[in-house]
Symmetry: C2
Subunit: 343 residues, 2 copies
Amino acid sequence: MEIITIKDIAKALNLSTSTVSRALRGSYEINPETKRLVMEYAERMNYRPNPIALSLKENRSRSIGVIIPEIANNFFSQAINGMESIAYNRGYHVVISQNHESYERELVSTQYLAQRRVDGLLVSLSGESNDLEHFKELQTKGLPIVFFDRVPQDYITHKVIADNFAGAYEATEHLIKQGFRRIAHLTSPSWLSITYERLEGYKKALQNHDIPIEDSYIKYCSHGGMILEEVEQAVMELINHPNRPDAIFTAGDRLSTTCMSLIRREGLRIPEDIAIVGFTNLITAHLLNPALSAVRQPAYEMGQLATEFLIDLIERPKATIRFETKKLDTHLIIRDSSLKATT
Amino acid sequence: MEIITIKDIAKALNLSTSTVSRALRGSYEINPETKRLVMEYAERMNYRPNPIALSLKENRSRSIGVIIPEIANNFFSQAINGMESIAYNRGYHVVISQNHESYERELVSTQYLAQRRVDGLLVSLSGESNDLEHFKELQTKGLPIVFFDRVPQDYITHKVIADNFAGAYEATEHLIKQGFRRIAHLTSPSWLSITYERLEGYKKALQNHDIPIEDSYIKYCSHGGMILEEVEQAVMELINHPNRPDAIFTAGDRLSTTCMSLIRREGLRIPEDIAIVGFTNLITAHLLNPALSAVRQPAYEMGQLATEFLIDLIERPKATIRFETKKLDTHLIIRDSSLKATT
DNA sequence: AACGTTGCCGACAACGATTGCATAAAAAAA
DNA sequence: TTTTTTTATGCAATCGTTGTCGGCAACGTT
């Protein structure tokens, strides 16, 4: 009933561990008859090589670490499913670690996974991370890292992102075409790539339609919606703005839902008083009141692509000549929350 | 720049690895001066013991495995956060594995985690699992297992569940008190504990109010909402029922949202045509159209409690005389989706 | 002076698996 | 029959760490 090792097999069959080991991997220099014996016995005893011993010996674990802000977020859980789909097919396991939008916890997660000898890292940065030394250090030690979604700007490796600029542009332009003019933007911490790119898309759309950019319409939430008070303050400032916005383009699941809650709490109507388009992968978006217009990211595909990049880096370390940044298309779904009342 | 080991320290300081090892763990039989030297050097070189080597040696990993149906589910992601909060405080890491409601994948996940020498397992069964041999086998090999949420009936170990009976009773009674009489129940696979308990609560409430139980109002979805077609068929059968229900009590996040979508797709109104109360931890429940009445489970606390049980089992294997089944209170939140129109 | 204690430290084995090298026996070649 | 080659197997080291054992001083005790 105990866990069986190669030694047990050797003892039972009166062989050495080396012979058993070689027999199991089908080495040509083992007598076919011996091979058969070993194989059969191993099969019968349900032998499985100890992955920990292998990790120690080979200094690799056939697993990849994923560090993301939060599991409880449809974008990330969809991305994880994409990662697993590729990883399992190529013989890797996925170990998930959350940073809860905290730099401290990102650090701890990174160290933990590195110590556990993951063969590579898939990272979406926390809202607090501007120092990337911990990643750089690991990378110079030979640990491949691929960033996705929230990627660092000045970091040379593969990256997988959504076309945040185009998505934001499309969302903002949609609001403009609906007739909204005072369009605010509620977004994540200013130093994140996604924030910058979406902000640029938002600004460009306004510019192209000759709408002046109003800085007080742009609100950053430096914890990405994790802290209610922060979002509350931002949204209240918009609501109480002397020239109250008639639409808000919100970035991220948490920001979009919290913003909706707050607007409703203040007795305002969506979209009559304030329209909303969210950058979100909420699976309940179509069920919300009102149904939430959303820029959807191809989360599953992003996870897949990032994993393919990473496993290539792991398995062919020298082959990569130059690093790529893959940009995937977003998709605007128009629902009730952004429609101008046709009165 | 390489990863430093105890050997490197020994070489650098002209000591043996044993001495270094003992110095680092502060053994009394090492000269304080030597100890200081080793400590300082280790600190300076940022030495961290290799957890893989330790796992191999000690046959344990200081990590606990979690097997759940789906990450992308608010109940489970909240439970995971609860688990992590306890685990980290007690020096354990959490490794997450999904079974996607499939028995096959549950098996694979279980084997994987066992091979990785997790010190214990936290399990919520997949919708397909009625055979529990894989768990039993591991348990007899000495691997502690704690079940939560979806627990097996005839299995002797700690379990943590929500008071599904009371929650279902409360939800059903609420619908009755609102004036609904043709109350249907859309639920998970019949063999799951949560299904049975909720069904009993539902039935009891009907009985206590002298409402006959109509079997054709009870619909099981054997994949727990993972497969759209299945839910669609169940919901359509209810909608097209010769005596169409005026309310549905739905179990689970997926079932509740999918059910709402389908009712709306068919042009029916909630709650005027069909009211809904969901057994769900959706964080967007209050934002839905209409706001979804819900029986909430204390997911975070359930995760915490299950983890405390598990770590106790791990650290004091003999201490446990009898196993407990802890039942936590649910909480009904009444919103618009279950209110009888007061016309 | 002989013996026992104590303090400090190193050698070795072990955890499970793989692998280069050595070697025995058997087969082939001389 | 002797030598060479082939075949099949075992030995030992390795990965990083810890536990057991034992050793060698330097001290105190009779």
